[in-house]
Amino acid sequence: MRPKNELALLPKLPLLITESADEFGALCDAFEREIKPRGIIEQMYVHDICSIVWEILRLRRCKVVIINSTFRTALEHLLVQLLKKPSQYDYQVEGEARALAQSWFTDQEAKKQVSETLSRFDLDEAAIEAEAIRRSSSDLELLDRMLTSLESRRNKAFGCVAEYRASLAHQLRESADRIIDGKDVLQLEHPSDKRSTAA
């Protein structure tokens, strides 16, 4: 169970208006069940891990959507190359390619026609995906750089929790050793000794 009082002290992660606060809460609960943070500092790290993971998920979603949204343009570009005869210019087949690419998403007949055109050049639908990735490579590169940075920070945060726990355990062990050795035990003066000294 989450220590609500400690969590309330930590600043809330700002979410996009389209993102669900409940889903983020569920993610935090899952991590807290797993890590079982003790104290505000561990709680801080867990909160940090949740925020990083949430952002990773956001960017991964974005990556998929970017590739998907480039699909139509990629297919159109590919079809222009495939439909064009050696004596033709691009603009002469652009109309046909655009119409075919448009109907590829909804029309089975168009899908079949595209597949046939692709197979004539020993290609399949993976070529469309590859072209979509190529066309959005500059955005994907930036996204990947951000994802790599976030993933390394998430791993570092996991390491920090472990390190903090280990140092805390070390301190507790040392304190316990001192108590066992009697170094930290308060030497109380016996009341009878005090009386005798006063006398």
């Binding site: 400690e6 002290l9 930590l10 600043p11 809330k12 992660l13 700002p14 979410l15 996009l16 208006i17 389209t18 505000i40 500092i41 801080m44 940090d48 925020s51 952002e55 956001r58 960017l59 979603r61 974005c62 959507v65 970017i66 949204s69 955005d139 930036l142 996204l143 750089r145 951000m146 940075s149 976030l150 920070r153 570092k156 945060a157 920090c160 903090y164 140092s167 805390l168 070390h170 301190q171 040392e174 304190s175």
Partner: protein, 185 residues
């Protein structure tokens, strides 16, 4: 180890790059820190100062030790800065999702050519403003993804600040733990 000649060259080059010289340049450079406010001290607002003190008390516990309190303050400050950067990362995505772009788009090349041609013919056209939000996908999650794509360079810059704040927080935690163990000895 650099040679005498290299050192002299370094000094000569350093003298060439001493920041802005013109009045306009100096004015512009003096406002560098205000572009996003991420380098501002977090205690500059009363609300943050209150949040900071609450967090400091929670981290440090009921101690009166000024060193321990200072170490706890460093942790709390870095953690709040981390949230501030995260907020700054969400804001441009929201803006791009609502308006299509962060800055209003200028006229396109073809529009400029049309304007110049019309001007040469002695006519003045009032160009229609471009509605960048109309170029956004209408539905989610495509709209948010497109907004993120459009502000990716800004997000990358903010990522640097976030990394720095996280590193500062981690260092502060290590210092706090060291201070605590020295105190216990």
């Amino acid at each position: 180890m650099a040679s005498e000649r290299q050192l002299a060259a370094n000094r000569r080059n350093a003298r060439k790059s001493t920041g802005p010289r013109s009045g306009a340049g100096k004015t512009r450079a003096s406002r560098n820190a205000y572009r996003h406010g991420l380098t501002l001290s977090i205690t500059s607002t009363a609300e943050y100062a209150k949040q900071l003190e609450t967090l400091v008390c929670k981290i440090a516990g009921d101690t009166k030790d000024p060193v321990k309190l200072e170490r706890a303050r460093a942790i709390a400050q870095a953690d709040l800065e981390l949230t501030q950067v995260r907020r700054a990362k969400v804001a441009p995505i929201e803006r791009a999702s609502a308006f299509g772009e962060l800055d209003p788009p200028g006229p396109t090349v073809s529009q400029m050519i049309r304007l110049l041609n019309a001007f040469q013919r002695g006519r003045l056209i009032d160009p229609k403003p471009i509605d960048a939000s109309a170029t956004m996908p209408p539905q989610e999650p495509d709209r948010s993804a497109e907004a993120i794509r459009r502000v990716l360079p800004e997000l990358c810059k903010l990522e640097r600040y976030e990394r720095r704040a996280a590193a500062r927080r981690d260092r502060a935690v290590v210092n706090f733990v060291v201070e605590q163990s020295e105190h216990n000895l």
